[in-house]
C-alpha cells in the first residue's frame, strides 16, 4: 500500500487565519447589506449571517441578511474593504482571532 494525497477532510477544516496581518472589521451601523464584499472575497471567507441582532443603518436594512467575516479563513487581503461602496469595512493591525 502506498500513501495517497486523498483525504476526507474538507478544505474548510484547513485554517488560514495565521496568514493574516491585517484584520477586516465591518461597521454594521453603515453597512447596507449589498453583499459586494461576499462576492469579491477570493477565499470564501465572508459568510452570510443569520443573526438579526446586528446594528443597521435602518430597520428595513436590519432585516436583510448581512455579511460576516469568517476569521478562521480570512487571510487579510483587504479586497472587501477596497470594494465596499460605503467604506464600512476597516482594516486594522489587530490581527488574530480577536477582532
Amino acid at each position: 500500500m502506498v500513501l495517497v494525497p486523498v483525504t476526507q477532510k474538507g478544505s474548510r477544516e484547513n485554517r488560514t487565519d495565521s496568514w493574516r496581518i491585517q484584520t477586516p472589521r465591518i461597521d454594521y451601523s453603515t453597512c447596507i447589506r449589498c453583499m459586494i464584499c461576499w462576492k469579491f472575497c477570493p477565499d470564501n471567507a465572508i459568510t452570510v449571517s443569520e443573526s438579526n441582532a446586528l446594528e443597521a443603518p435602518s430597520e428595513r436594512i436590519g432585516k436583510l441578511e448581512a455579511p460576516e467575516i469568517d476569521l478562521e479563513h480570512c487571510k487579510g487581503c483587504g479586497i472587501c474593504a477596497y470594494e465596499c461602496p460605503e467604506d464600512s469595512i476597516e482594516m486594522s493591525l489587530e490581527g488574530g482571532l480577536s477582532q
Partner: protein
C-alpha cells in the same frame, strides 16, 4: 513457456506501441498529435473506430489537457494511456508531477524528439530527460519488440500495489518510431493472464466524496507523501525484476534487469548508453572484440529508478568508461553522465568520460563509436562533444 500462440508482424515502433496498448486492455486514450508520435495515436484512433479496441478516444486541444484527461479517467478506475513527443511532453510537465503525486499508474509513450530552437523533429532524448524529476518511471527502449513488451510490462509494474507510480516508455524518433522491424505479437489471452485487471483502491466515488490532492500545510502530510513516492520508486526495482522474470516465463523474451550488460564479464573498458545508441554500440563492441579489445556495453534501460547499484557493480575495477548522452543538461554534459558519476562516487574509482552525441538526430556512426572507445582507452576524462562541426 507458452510462446506458441504468438504471431509475427512487421511493424514500426509506433505501431508496436499501439498494439501493446490494445493488448493491455486500455479503456481510455486521450492525445494531441505531434510528430513523431502521431502514428501511435492515429493507429489507436483507427482501432477504436473499427471496434478492435473497446476504449474511449478523446482528442483534446493540448498535451496539458491530454495528461489531465487521462489523470481524471485513471482516477475513476479506468486504465488509461497517452503518447507524446518533444514540446508536447514539456507542455505536460506540470501534470506529470500531478499524475505521479496522485499515484496514478498511467503508461505514456514518449517518442524522443529534439527541443527547439531551432525546430527539429529528429531523435534527441532531452525531452524525456527533462522529466526525470517528475516521479515517473522511465524506460528507454532499444527495439520495436521492446516497445511493445514495455507497454504490457509497464502497466503491471506501475500498477503494482507497492509502486503506484506512472511509467514513461521511450522510443528514439524515426530510428524506432518510423522504422519497421519484425515483432512477435503476444496472444491477447496470454496478456490477460500476465496483466491483472486494473484495480485502484482510491477511485473517485460520488457516494463518498473525498479531497484529491487538496491543501497541505508545512506540518501536513506533504513531505511524507513525497517520501513515500521516493520509497515506492526504490521498491519498483524488485517489482521490475519480478515482472521481467514472469514475462520471460510467459512469453519467452528475456529483458534482464534495469540495465542490459553486453560483453561485460571480462571487460576492461565500457561504453554506457541508452536507447538505439546502445544498438550501434553493441555492433561496435563486436567489431572491437574481433580486434582483441576488451570492451563491453552497459545499456541503461531504466533511468528511473536509476540503476546505481548495477552501474557500480558493472563498472567497478574497469580501466575506463565512456557515458554517451543523446541529451544535454547544461550541467556537465548530459544527465546520464551526471547520474553515472554520482553513482560511482566513493564506490568505484573509474576514469569517466561523458560524450554528448547525436543531438537533434545527428547520426552517430560506427566511426564515432570507435573514436569514443579510443578516447576512453587513452584515458580521457571530462566532457567531449562528438561529431560537431568545428571541433570537439
Amino acid at each position: 513457456m507458452k510462446s506458441m500462440a504468438q504471431t509475427k508482424a512487421l511493424v514500426t515502433g509506433n505501431e508496436a506501441a499501439a498494439i501493446g496498448v490494445k493488448l493491455s486492455d486500455v479503456r481510455f486514450i486521450s492525445a494531441y498529435p505531434i510528430t513523431p508520435q502521431t502514428t501511435i495515436v492515429e493507429k489507436l484512433a483507427e482501432m477504436v473506430a473499427n471496434e478492435e479496441l473497446d476504449a474511449r478516444y478523446v482528442e483534446v486541444e493540448s498535451e496539458h489537457s491530454a495528461m489531465t484527461a487521462v489523470f481524471s479517467s485513471e482516477l475513476t478506475g479506468v486504465r488509461s494511456y497517452t503518447a507524446t513527443s518533444s514540446h508536447g511532453l514539456l507542455y505536460m510537465h506540470e501534470m506529470l508531477h500531478w499524475t505521479a503525486g496522485m499515484r496514478l499508474p498511467i503508461v505514456v509513450s514518449v517518442v524522443n524528439r529534439a527541443i527547439g530552437p531551432p525546430w527539429n523533429i529528429w531523435a534527441d532524448q532531452t525531452d524525456s530527460m527533462n522529466q526525470k524529476d517528475t516521479g515517473w518511471l522511465q524506460v528507454y527502449c532499444e527495439s520495436n519488440q521492446e516497445v511493445l513488451d514495455t507497454i504490457i510490462m509497464g502497466y503491471r509494474i506501475a500498477e503494482d500495489r507497492s509502486v503506484k507510480l506512472p511509467l514513461m516508455s521511450m522510443e528514439d524518433a524515426f530510428i524506432l518510431s518510423h522504422t519497421s522491424e519484425p515483432v512477435t505479437v503476444p496472444d491477447i489471452s496470454q496478456v490477460r493472464d500476465f496483466l491483472p485487471e486494473f484495480d485502484l483502491d482510491f477511485t473517485v466515488d460520488f457516494k463518498n466524496p473525498m479531497g484529491y490532492g487538496s491543501y497541505s500545510t508545512p506540518d501536513g502530510p506533504f513531505m511524507e507523501l513525497k517520501k513515500d513516492m521516493a520509497d515506492s520508486m526504490n521498491k519498483a526495482r524488485a517489482v521490475i525484476e519480478k515482472t521481467y522474470r514472469d514475462f520471460s516465463e510467459s512469453f519467452g523474451r528475456d529483458y534482464a534487469g534495469l540495465t542490459d550488460n553486453y560483453m561485460m564479464e571480462d571487460a576492461e573498458f565500457a561504453l554506457v548508453a541508452t536507447g538505439t545508441l546502445a544498438s550501434t554500440a553493441k555492433h561496435v563492441v563486436n567489431l572491437l572484440r574481433n580486434e582483441g579489445k576488451k570492451v563491453g556495453l552497459v545499456r541503461v534501460k531504466f533511468f528511473r529508478p536509476f540503476p546505481s547499484e548495477e552501474i557500480v557493480s558493472s563498472l567497478k575495477g574497469l580501466k575506463g568508461a565512456g557515458v554517451i548522452d543523446r541529451s544535454l543538461a547544461f550541467s556537465d554534459g548530459g544527465s546520464l553522465y551526471s547520474e553515472v558519476s554520482a553513482s560511482l562516487y566513493r564506490k568505484a574509482d573509474v576514469p569517466l568520460t561523458g560524450f554528448v552525441a547525436g543531438l537533434g538526430g545527428r547520426d552517430v556512426r560506427v566511426e564515432e563509436f570507435r573514436k569514443m572507445y579510443e578516447m576512453v582507452e587513452e584515458g580521457s576524462e571530462g566532457i567531449r562533444w562528438i561529431n560537431t562541426k568545428g571541433g570537439e
